[in-house]
């Protein structure tokens, strides 16, 4: 029997029983869709957590207030909540004398109202220094970022995201204008060109001010974290040692802060989320096997319903192998087209989710599509084997007298 004849015959049966075919297609496609969606969530979560780190320079060391008891491998997100003793601008200044440090960017975050010309918006604020630009690898759309040496001083300047510019300044040029932030004023010196997020905030909605302006604005001296850029990777460990020594001395001998290397965090996050995504994918794959079992059951029924046809095929010269092939092909066609339908559905729904929840990035990994397709096809073959065997082993005389 030729390949296209096999496909034609298998297709003709699938078309002949549309309800059954659609049911099995739906079952398989739900399984594949589940794999795509769950892995998209897993990958999205990974992207959400690590994305912020990823954009930053590679030679980055971060100091976070608070100490992880078990030391090492902890999440900085958790740690940000507990603050036994705050990190201050003075702490950041004290790190400047360490050899091999290229840039220091203390970071304060908060939120306040921004006003221009009667228009008012609540905006997220980041307080930092000029170094922040190079640490985050940001680019300016127009104008300048914060001026240098703003660690001690707080010149009344600010940089805004494009969305802030649009909402508060409309079409007019924002650069050089005075923006009111809370009870302070600042002159807009530049517009940020970079898109994406920083510490979980949409960059385009941000206002960035000198760090001391921010501490004054929020009336709170504590830093969210200190980012330190090393001259190169190799000096990183030495810098960490020096940083710990200096900060410990400043904090009355207590190590109530955590120092982490950005690349190490990235690596461990990557691992955790890889495992998570794969676990989600495997759980979803189970539904593919459920679909496979469903296909097997329906095919077993089909074999007994089509006994007389099987008998006839044998009478006109079909070999057992050919009957076998015919049923396996049906199972593969069912699971294969169900899988393709599931891929289309899964990816479309991912797109819809992306639009509905723009803050979370749904990223179905490529391997999930391949793996779910292969698993679906395999379950088609495996669960098609039994019915196909049963069909091919039918006694032709009994089959011929069987039901039509």
């Amino acid at each position: 029997m030729r390949f296209y004849d096999l496909i034609f015959l298998a297709l003709s049966t699938l078309i002949r029983y549309p309800l059954r075919t659609i049911m099995l297609l739906v079952a398989t496609s739900i399984g594949v869709m589940a794999v795509i969606l769950l892995t998209a969530v897993g990958e999205g979560a990974r992207d959400y957590i690590t994305g912020e780190f990823r954009d930053m320079g590679t030679n980055l060391i971060i100091v976070i207030p608070g100490k992880n008891e078990t030391s090492g491998g902890g999440s900085p997100v958790d740690l940000a909540g507990v603050t036994p003793r705050d990190l201050t601008i003075e702490d950041a200044i004290s790190l400047r004398k360490i050899d091999g440090v290229k840039n220091i960017a203390p970071i304060v975050i908060g939120e306040t109202s921004a006003q221009f010309n009667g228009l008012e918006r609540n905006v997220p604020i980041i307080g930092s220094t000029q170094s922040f630009l190079s640490v985050r690898k940001w680019e300016m759309e127009t104008g300048m970022f914060l001026p240098g040496s703003t660690l001690e001083r707080s010149p009344p300047v600010c940089v805004i995201g494009k969305e802030v510019e649009k909402e508060l300044f409309g079409g007019s040029n924002a650069i050089g204008q005075w923006l009111r932030l809370g009870d302070r004023r600042c002159r807009v010196t530049g517009i940020i060109g970079t898109e994406g997020r920083a510490v979980g905030i949409d960059v385009q909605k941000l206002v960035v001010v000198p760090v001391s302006l921010a501490t004054a604005l929020f009336n709170r001296p504590s830093l969210f974290r200190i980012a330190v850029e090393a001259e190169n990777r190799l000096v990183g460990d030495q810098i960490i040692k020096d940083m710990k020594k200096i900060l410990k001395k400043r904090h009355r001998g207590k190590e109530d802060f955590t120092v982490i290397r950005q690349d190490a965090v990235m690596a461990s996050f990557d691992n955790i989320f890889n495992v998570l995504t794969m676990a989600l994918g495997s759980i979803a794959s189970i539904s593919l096997f459920v679909a496979g079992i469903l296909i097997m059951n329906v095919m077993l029924v089909a074999v007994s319903q089509r006994q007389s046809e099987i008998g006839l095929l044998k009478a006109i010269g079909a070999k057992n192998k050919q009957i076998n092939q015919l049923f396996i092909t049906e199972a593969i066609l069912l699971s294969g087209s169900g899988a393709i339908l599931g891929l289309i559905l899964g990816h479309s729904i991912t797109q819809v989710l992306k639009i509905s929840f723009p803050t979370f990035n749904f990223l179905p990994p490529l391997w999930a599509s391949y793996v779910s397709l292969i698993v679906a096809l395999m379950s088609g073959v495996i669960f098609g084997l039994l019915p196909a065997r049963r069909a091919s082993k039918l006694d032709p005389v009994i089959a011929l007298s069987g039901n039509k």
Partner: protein
């Protein structure tokens, strides 16, 4: 061409043994036209199924074209069914989702013949049974007589040596029954060996040779 020696076919139903065929000897030469008659349960279909290699004897030999069929495996028997034997059944056995032409094409599809060659042979077979204008019809759109003609076209499309027909007119009214009988008799005149199982005395009397079965035994074998 066909020789059957001391052939028996038993069925075990529970602890009872049914002798569907009981020590049968039979010889059939090429081109013969044979009717098999007998009361219900006398073993006619069983004999036909064994002749068509759909069933195997429990004892005895069936020698087809000089080859003892008991030495054949499933695939070899399938090959013989494909190339040397044509079947016609009482209930037509057409595949309902395929058109008349596709049903006729089926034996060639299974034999792996190229579509181009198939097309031509389907046309010839259709014209043999005068159904060229119905080639695209599904079985449900055809009358009983037309369905049986499609089945006959299917049975001869591989140009077999033997045509085995198990009550081919059993489901037909007398007019279309006669049509079918004439059709297969014409095929016999063209050289095809024809073996017909029938209940119809008139039909049985048309053949050159009449075999009567009773309780699995040949009680009468008349050559006219």
């Amino acid at each position: 061409m066909i020789r059957i020696e001391n052939l028996s076919r038993k069925f075990e139903v529970g602890n009872q043994i049914v002798r569907a065929l009981d020590h049968i000897d039979l010889e059939i030469t090429k081109g013969e036209y044979i009717s098999i008659m007998g009361v219900s349960g006398s073993g006619k279909s069983t004999l036909l199924n064994i002749l068509g290699l759909l069933d195997t004897p429990t004892k005895g030999d069936y020698i087809l074209s000089g080859i003892n069929t008991s030495e054949m495996n499933d695939d070899e028997m399938a090959h013989i069914r494909s190339t040397k034997i044509g079947f016609v059944f009482q209930s037509f056995h057409l595949i309902p989702r395929l058109t008349a032409a596709e049903n006729i094409e089926m034996p060639m599809v299974l034999a792996g013949i190229k579509p181009k060659d198939r097309q031509e042979k389907v046309e010839i077979a259709l014209s043999h049974v005068s159904l060229n204008d119905r080639s695209d019809h599904k079985p449900e759109q055809l009358s009983g007589g037309q369905r049986q003609r499609v089945a006959i076209a299917r049975s001869i499309v591989m140009e077999p040596d033997v045509l085995l027909a198990d009550e081919p007119t059993g489901n037909l009214d007398s007019t279309s029954g006669i049509e079918i009988v004439r059709l297969i008799e014409d095929l016999n005149k063209a050289g095809l060996t024809l073996i017909v199982v029938t209940h119809d005395r008139k039909l049985g009397n048309r053949s050159d040779r009449l075999i009567r079965l009773l309780d699995g035994k040949i009680i009468n074998d008349n050559v006219k």
